[in-house]
C-alpha cells in the first residue's frame, strides 16, 4: 500500500479487494529527531546514541572499548573508573532502593573489570518539595549499601531542581578501584571455546520493579536481586586471573549483554535455553506480560566468559559464594555467526537472540 490518501473525518477510499501479497509488519522508526525512552533502554538505540553522538564528540581512546567501566593507567596504577545514573521509580521496592542501586550499580561496573571498588562519588539531584524524610531514607540506604560493599563514599554533590522538573530523587555515582596485576577483563577478550556462565537466576530486578510500578500482582512478592558483586568476582579471580569477560546484565538483560560481547569480540555465542536459570515467578510474570526474561534487567548477576580449562573450577568457586549458589553454564563462544547470539531451544531448534531496539514492551498478543 504505497498509495497516498487524504482523510476527512472517517472516510477511507477502499481498495477493490484485500491483497495479501504486500502484507508485512511495519518497520519501527529508527532515526528520532528528539530523545525517546528507547535511547535509555540499553539496546540498539542506546548503542547508536553513544556511537553517533557521544563517542565522536568526546573522542577518547578509552571510551571506544565501551565496557561497563574504563581501565586507565595513572601514576603506575591500573584503575577501573565508572559512572552511572539512577532514575528508578519507585525509590523503594521489594529487595532494595535507589540507594542500594546507586552503590551496587557502580561497584558492579568496576567489578566487571576485575577491580574492587575503593571510592565512590555521589551526586544527589533533588526535586523541590520532596520530603526530607525520603532524602534521609535514601541516604541511609546508600550508606548501608556502601558499608556492605566495602567502599567509601568519598565525595559528593547536591543540586535541587524546581518542582515538576525532576522525579523526587535522582542519583549519580562514580567509582574507582584498582585492577589487580595480571588481570585483563574486557569484552574484546572473548574467544571461540570460552564457556559462558551466569551467576544465578535472571529477570528478578526487572519483574520486581514492574510489579510495584504498575501495581501488578503475580501471586508472590518478587524481590530485586540487587547486590554488590565484588566478593563474587574476587572468589572467581582466586581460581584464575584469566577470566576473559565479565558483564553485569542490567538494562536490556542477558540478551543485550551477550550481544554486546559478541559484537565487541567478533565472536558468536550459542546458548542452551534450558540451562538459563529463569525462576518460575519470573517466567510466569513474563508470560502474563508478553516479555522475554532474557531481556529483563538484573542488578545482582554477572555473566562470565571463561577459558574452557578453567570453567569447572570457576563454576565451583561461584557456587560456593552466597551470590553464586545457582551459577550455571549456559553456553559457549563459537567462531560461527560472529556478532550474533543464538539460542538452542528446548525442542532442539535454534533462534536468534538479538539486541533489543529500545525498551522491551509488553505484547498485546
Amino acid at each position: 500500500m504505497a498509495d497516498t490518501e487524504t482523510l476527512s473525518g472517517t472516510a477511507v477510499e477502499p481498495p477493490a479487494a484485500p491483497d495479501f501479497s504486500g502484507w508485512s509488519c511495519p518497520l519501527p522508526l529508527r532515526d528520532h529527531p528528539r530523545v525517546v525512552m528507547g535511547h535509555g533502554g540499553g539496546g540498539a538505540m542506546s548503542a547508536e546514541l553513544v556511537e553517533n553522538v557521544f563517542a565522536p564528540a568526546f573522542g577518547g581512546r578509552t571510551l571506544a572499548t565501551l565496557g561497563d567501566s574504563a581501565v586507565v593507567e595513572l601514576g603506575g596504577a591500573r584503575l577501573a573508573f565508572s559512572t552511572d545514573s539512577f532514575v528508578v521509580r519507585p525509590l523503594f521496592f521489594p529487595g532494595g532502593s535507589i540507594g542500594d542501586l546507586a552503590v551496587n550499580g557502580t561497584v558492579n561496573d568496576l567489578a566487571m573489570s576485575g577491580a574492587r571498588a575503593a571510592y565512590l562519588s555521589c551526586g544527589f539531584i533533588l526535586e523541590e518539595g520532596v520530603e526530607m524524610a525520603v532524602v534521609d531514607r535514601v541516604a541511609r540506604a546508600l550508606g548501608a549499601a556502601a558499608r556492605r560493599a566495602g567502599v567509601e563514599v568519598a565525595t559528593g554533590d547536591t543540586k535541587v531542581v524546581e518542582a515538576g522538573h525532576g522525579d523526587g530523587v535522582y542519583l549519580n555515582t562514580a567509582g574507582i578501584g584498582l585492577v589487580p596485576a595480571g588481570v585483563d577483563i574486557r569484552p574484546q577478550r572473548a574467544v571461540p571455546g570460552d564457556v559462558v556462565i551466569v551467576s544465578g537466576a535472571i529477570g528478578l530486578h526487572g519483574v520486581a520493579i514492574m510489579s510495584v510500578r504498575e501495581g501488578l500482582e503475580f501471586g508472590v512478592e518478587i524481590e530485586s536481586d540487587c547486590a554488590a558483586l565484588g566478593g563474587l568476582v574476587d572468589a572467581m579471580l582466586a581460581v584464575t586471573p584469566d577470566l576473559h569477560v565479565l558483564r553485569d546484565p542490567t538494562r536490556g538483560g542477558l540478551a543485550a549483554a551477550l550481544n554486546e560481547i559478541a559484537a565487541g569480540a567478533g565472536v558468536g555465542v550459542v546458548l542452551s535455553e534450558r540451562a538459563v536459570p529463569v525462576p518460575p515467578q519470573v517466567a510466569n510474570a513474563c508470560a502474563v506480560l508478553g516479555l522475554d526474561p532474557m531481556y529483563v534487567a538484573n542488578e545482582g548477576k554477572l555473566v562470565a566468559f571463561v577459558p574452557r580449562r578453567e570453567a569447572d573450577a570457576v563454576l565451583a568457586a561461584m557456587r560456593s559464594h552466597p551470590l553464586g549458589t545457582e551459577a550455571a553454564v549456559i553456553g559457549e563462544c563459537v567462531a560461527d555467526h560472529p556478532g550474533m547470539v543464538v539460542a538452542r531451544t528446548a525442542f532442539g531448534g535454534t533462534r536468534v537472540v538479538d539486541l533489543p531496539m529500545g525498551e522491551q514492551l509488553p505484547r498485546i498478543c
Binding site: P18, G22, W23, S24, C25, P362, I364, C365
Partner: protein, 374 residues
C-alpha cells in the same frame, strides 16, 4: 501457571513431532492465524523441527501490525493534544504512523501512558476529571470484551472525560478473505484459541465447508501448537475438512456468553482496513451508536490527515511463503539486520534475519517474479 512447564515439555513434544512425521506423506501448507502463535513457533523454533514439506505460513494475526495507518495517524494527532492523556497497550507505542510514532509524540511533550488494561485508563480518567483520557482500543476478539467493558463502565459511572479510539478486528472475515484470494496456498488453519474462548466455534464450520479446509482451534504453548498441527495434517491426509477443538481446556463451543453480550451491547460490526492488505468487509468493530459519546473519533475532530506508507520491501511475499528471503534482490546487500528495509530483517522473529544468519553464505541471491497469495 504449571501449564507453562507442562505444555513446554520437550519429551512430549518429541512424541507429537514423531506422530506428525509418521502421518505426513506429502507437502502441506498450514496457516497459524494469530500473532501469539507465530511468536511461540519462532521462539521455540517449532517450524525448524517439522518434517520437510509441512510449511507454516504466518497469518496477518498481529493486531498491532494490521492497525491501519490512518488510525495510527489519528491516534498520533489525538495524543499530541495538550488536553489529552493517551493510554495504550505497550507495543502500540513503537508502531510507525506516516512520520512518527507514539514514543516520538511522548518525546515531544504528549502525555502518552502504557497501561495493562483499559480499566487502568478508566481509573486515570476518574482521577483526572480536567483531562481528556483516550484509550487506544485495538486487538482481535480477545481484547475487545475488556475494552467494551471499559466503555460500558464509563457510561454507567458517568465518566465523561473517557473515550476510546477503536480499531478492533475480527478473525473469521480475515480467514474468508485469505481463502477467497485467487492464489491462496493455505490448505489448513490453526484457529486462534483465545479468540475462540470468547467467540466460540460457531463461525468456523461454514468456512471449513465452503473452502474445504480443516480448521483446528489451537492454543499458544508449544505443545498446543504441535497438537494443532498434528490434527490438521491428520485431517488433510484423510481428505477431511472439519472444525476441531484442540484447546478444550479454554474453549467451549459457545465461547463466553457474558463477553459476547458485552460486545454486542457496545460494538457494531463494520468494514475495516488492515494495514498492508486493504479493506476486509465486516472484519472490524466500532463503537455502536449508543456509545457514540465515548467514541474518540467523534469527540476529536481529527481531519485532514494525509497518510503515506513508505515503499515496502518484499517481506509480504516472504511472509506468505511466495519468496524465500535470499531470493530478494536486496537481501544481504541493501537490507541487513543493521540496515533493515522491512520487519522480517529486524528481529529474531524475522525470516530474513534468520536466513541472513544461517544461509547467506550458502544461498546466492536469485530474483523471483512477484506473485499474489492469500
Amino acid at each position: 501457571m504449571k501449564y507453562l512447564e507442562e505444555f513446554q515439555n520437550p519429551e512430549l513434544a518429541s512424541g507429537l513431532l514423531a506422530d506428525i512425521r509418521a502421518t505426513v506423506t506429502r507437502p502441506w501448507a498450514l496457516m497459524e492465524v494469530c500473532g501469539g502463535q507465530t511468536h511461540t513457533i519462532i521462539r521455540h523454533a517449532i517450524d525448524q523441527l517439522l518434517p520437510d514439506g509441512v510449511e507454516l505460513i504466518h497469518g496477518p494475526g498481529c493486531p498491532v501490525c494490521v492497525t491501519p495507518l490512518e488510525m495510527i495517524d489519528r491516534a498520533l494527532a489525538i495524543a499530541a493534544r495538550p488536553d489529552v492523556v493517551f493510554c495504550s497497550f505497550g507495543d502500540m507505542l513503537r508502531v510507525p504512523g506516516t512520520d512518527r510514532d507514539l514514543f516520538r509524540v511522548r518525546g515531544e511533550g504528549g502525555d502518552v501512558r502504557v497501561v495493562y488494561s483499559p480499566l487502568d485508563a478508566l481509573r486515570i480518567a476518574r482521577d483526572n476529571p480536567d483531562r481528556e483520557v483516550v484509550f487506544f482500543g485495538i486487538g482481535f476478539e480477545t481484547t475487545a470484551p475488556p475494552n467494551a467493558m471499559a466503555v460500558h463502565q464509563a457510561r454507567k459511572l458517568g465518566i465523561r472525560n473517557f473515550s476510546m479510539l477503536v480499531s478492533h478486528v475480527r478473525v473469521p472475515p480475515a480467514i474468508e478473505a485469505i481463502m477467497a484470494s485467487p492464489d491462496c496456498r493455505v490448505q489448513g488453519f490453526l484457529a486462534a484459541g483465545h479468540v475462540c474462548s470468547v467467540m466460540g466455534t460457531a463461525e468456523y464450520p461454514a468456512l471449513a465447508e465452503r473452502h474445504e479446509v480443516p480448521i483446528v482451534v489451537t492454543g499458544f504453548e508449544p505443545l498446543d501448537i504441535l497438537e494443532g498441527i498434528r490434527r490438521t495434517v491428520r485431517q488433510l491426509e484423510r481428505g477431511e475438512h472439519a472444525v476441531e477443538n484442540a484447546y478444550a481446556r479454554a474453549v467451549r463451543p459457545e465461547g463466553n456468553p457474558a463477553a459476547r453480550a458485552m460486545l454486542e451491547d457496545v460494538f457494531e460490526v463494520t468494514d475495516r482496513a488492515w494495514r498492508g492488505i486493504g479493506v476486509i468487509p465486516q472484519s472490524g468493530w466500532r463503537l455502536s451508536e449508543r456509545y457514540r459519546d465515548h467514541d474518540a473519533e467523534h469527540r476529536f475532530d481529527v481531519t485532514g490527515i494525509t497518510t503515506r506508507e513508505p515503499a515496502q520491501c518484499r517481506s509480504g511475499e516472504v511472509l506468505q511463503g511466495l519468496l524465500k528471503p535470499h531470493q530478494c534482490e536486496a537481501f544481504g546487500t541493501t537490507c541487513t539486520p543493521r540496515t533493515p528495509l522491512g520487519a522480517t530483517m529486524v528481529s529474531s522473529e524475522g525470516a530474513c534475519a534468520a536466513y541472513y544468519l544461517y544461509r547467506r553464505l550458502s544461498t546466492p541471491p536469485a530474483p523471483k517474479e512477484a506473485s499474489r497469495v492469500g
